[in-house]
Symmetry: C2
C-alpha cells in the first residue's frame, strides 16, 4: 500500500454509516501498551528503541485483522505525508517529531492505526463509523489478546497496564466518540452540556484532535480515567453519556424545526451555496459551512448529497491533503484557492 | 392594458441592450410642461384640475408614439399598484399622494410615462435602455411638438417654459442616466468622481429615485440646470460627462482584473451562490449581491446568465412587486421569504 492510495479512498470512519450517524461521526478505541524490560520510548536509547520496534512488528503476523496492513517508518516519510496522516486522524502530532524508531501500521480501510514508539511502545487505535464503540472494542480486543501472547507487556497486578503517562495506566484504554452538535450550539445549550461532561470526568476536544478548539460544531468526547474500571465499564459509561447527548441534540434539532425552521433553512442553503461557489475559502470558514450543510442533510433540508461527501470534505480540505493533491508545497493563499476548487468540484 | 400585464413583461429600459449597456443601465429624458391660463396643480381648484386633465388627455390622440398607450386615473389605482408604478420608475412618489385629477399615461413597453397634474400639469418621460439620450430626446421632442399644437403651454419668451419649481424653468428638461459603477466603488474612487460631478452642476441619486441613497453601486446622474442652455447643449453636456465616467469605470475594472482578479471572482461567485440559495433575503442585500453578479456578467466571469434577468430582479424584488405577484399584502418577513423564492427561481 502506498500513502497516495488513501487520497482517493474513503476511510471507514468517514462513511457516514453506523448507528446514529446523523450525530455521531465516529467511534474510536485506543489501547496503550508497553514492553517490560525496555525503557519507555522517551527514555530509550537507540538500541532499545530499535529493539522495541522489532519486537512489536514481529508480533503482528499472527494477529487477526492485520493481514492487509502496511507499516511505514516515520523517518522515511516526508513532512507532508506525516501531516497527511495526522489530518486523517491516523496518528498524533507528537508522532511526527523525533522520528527515530517510530513507525505506524495502517490498513487500507483506515480502521486500524498503530503507532510504535510514540509516548508508549504501542498505541493501537480502531475507528468505526457512527456510534459503535463495542465493535471497535471487539476488534482491538482480539488483536490485543493475540499480541499479548507474543509480547511481554509491562503489567502490574495492582495497577494494570503500565504507561508512560499515569493517566493512561490501568486499562490503557481511551474510548472517544466524535459528535456533531450544531443544534446545541445554535440554541446556546452547548456550554451547559460541556460543563456537565467535564464534571463527569470526560474530556472534550475539537475535530482535529488534542489541543484543538471545537470548530464547526464538532466535539470529540473521551474518558479521562483509565484506572479503576474495567474496559466494559468504561465503554458502558461513555455510551451512557453519549446517548444522553444524542438525545439532547435531537431535542434541540426538534426545537429549531418548531421555532426557527425558516432561518435555519436559509442558513443551511446559504452555506451550501457559498461552498458551491466560493473561489477562495479558509479552513475555518469551510468547517463552519460544512457543519451547516451536514445539519441540513441530516434534517432533510438538502437531498441528493451523500453524507460521505461532506465527511470527506472536512478531511481533504486540510493543508497536507491539498498539497498532496496538488503534488507540491502551497502557500496559505494558494491553499485557500485550491480548497475552494476541490469543494466546488465535489459539490457540483 | 392592465397593470398586471406589466408584471410578466420586461420594460424597454431593463432589456440590458443599447450602447455601453455594461455600465449604463438606462437613459431618460423628462420634459415639464404647464398650461397657461390654469393654475399650477398645487394651487388649482377642483374645476381647474379637472380641466387641465381633460385638455391634456384630449391632446394625446394626434401625437406620435401614443397609439398603444393607456391612461390610468390615480384615484382609481390601489395603493400597491401605485407603489408598483413607482418601483418601475414610471412615476414619482409624489404622484401617489392627493390623487384627485392625477393621471398617468404608459405604454406596454414602458418607454413612455406621462404624469398629469403632478407638480406640473404635464411631466413627460421617455426611457431607453443603455446610453441613448439622443434617441429618448428624439421621441419626446416629436411628441412635445405635436402636443404644443393642441395645447397652449405656459411659455415666456424671456424664461422659456414656466414650471412650478424654478429649477425646471427654461427647457423644462431633465436628462438622466443610470450608471452601474461597482469598480469605482470597490477601488474607492467613487467619492472623488461624485465630488467632481457635483461641482459640474449635475445631481447624483440612487437606483430608486429622488431622495434615495446610492445602493448596489447604482448612480443616477442628471443635469441640475435647465435654464440658459438649449436642449441639445444639455444633452451634449451630460453625454460628455457620462463618457468620462464610463471611461473611469472601465479603467477601474481593468485595474481590478490586473490586481485583484481572484478575490473579485470569489466575491462575484459567492454573491451569485448566495442569491441562488438564500431562503430569506432583504432588499438591501439583494441589491448589493445583484450588483456583484451584474459586474461578474459584464466582466465575463459568469456566463449563461442574461443581463436582462439581473436587471429585472432589481425591479421585481421590490415590495409592491412581490405583493402583486403574491396577490396579497405581505409583512416584511414574508417579503424577505418571497423575494428569496423569486430570485432562486429566476436564477436556476
Amino acid at each position: 500500500m502506498n500513502l497516495n492510495d488513501l487520497l482517493n479512498h474513503t476511510s471507514e470512519w468517514l462513511k457516514g454509516t453506523g448507528p446514529h450517524s446523523d450525530i455521531v461521526i465516529s467511534s474510536r478505541i485506543r489501547l496503550a501498551r508497553n514492553l517490560d524490560k525496555l525503557m519507555f520510548p522517551q527514555w530509550a536509547n537507540k538500541k532499545q528503541g530499535e529493539e522495541a520496534l522489532q519486537l512489536i512488528v514481529g508480533s503482528f503476523p499472527k494477529a487477526p485483522f492485520l493481514k492487509q496492513t502496511s507499516i511505514f517508518k516515520l523517518a522515511e516519510v516526508d513532512n507532508i505525508d506525516k501531516q497527511f496522516l495526522v489530518e486523517r486522524h491516523l496518528m498524533s502530532l507528537e508522532h511526527t517529531q523525533k522520528t527515530n524508531h517510530k513507525a505506524i501500521l495502517i490498513d487500507q480501510e483506515e480502521v486500524l492505526s498503530f503507532m510504535i514508539n510514540e509516548e508508549d511502545h504501542l498505541r493501537m487505535q480502531v475507528m468505526q463509523s457512527g456510534f459503535n464503540l463495542y465493535e471497535a472494542w471487539n476488534i482491538i480486543n482480539q488483536i490485543d489478546d493475540s499480541l499479548a501472547k507474543e509480547l511481554s507487556y509491562a503489567f502490574s497486578a495492582e495497577w494494570g497496564y503500565l504507561t508512560a503517562c499515569p493517566t493512561n495506566t490501568g486499562t490503557g484504554m481511551r474510548g472517544s466518540v466524535m459528535l456533531h452538535l450544531p443544534a446545541l450550539v445554535i440554541t446556546r445549550q452547548i456550554d451547559r452540556v460541556l460543563a456537565a461532561i467535564a464534571k463527569l470526568s470526560f474530556t472534550t476536544r475539537g475535530l482535529y484532535g488534542e489541543g484543538t478548539q471545537a470548530m464547526g460544531n464538532f466535539f470529540q468526547i473521551s474518558n479521562q480515567v483509565s484506572l479503576g474500571h474495567s474496559e466494559d465499564e468504561i465503554i458502558r459509561n461513555i455510551n451512557g453519556l453519549i446517548r444522553q447527548i444524542i438525545e439532547q441534540e435531537n431535542q434541540a434539532r426538534e426545537a429549531l424545526l418548531a421555532k426557527s425552521k425558516a432561518p435555519l433553512e436559509d442558513r443551511v442553503h446559504r452555506s451550501y451555496g457559498i461552498l458551491k461557489s466560493a473561489h477562495i475559502i479558509s479552513s475555518q470558514e469551510t468547517t463552519e459551512l460544512l457543519s451547516m450543510v451536514r445539519l441540513g442533510c441530516d434534517m432533510g433540508m438538502i437531498s441528493n448529497l451523500d453524507r460521505r461527501v461532506i465527511n470527506e470534505l472536512f478531511i481533504i480540505t486540510q493543508p497536507a491533503h491539498l498539497q498532496k493533491m496538488e503534488n507540491k508545497k502551497l502557500s496559505q493563499e494558494e491553499r485557500d484557492v485550491k480548497r475552494a476548487d476541490i469543494i466546488r468540484h465535489k459539490l457540483v
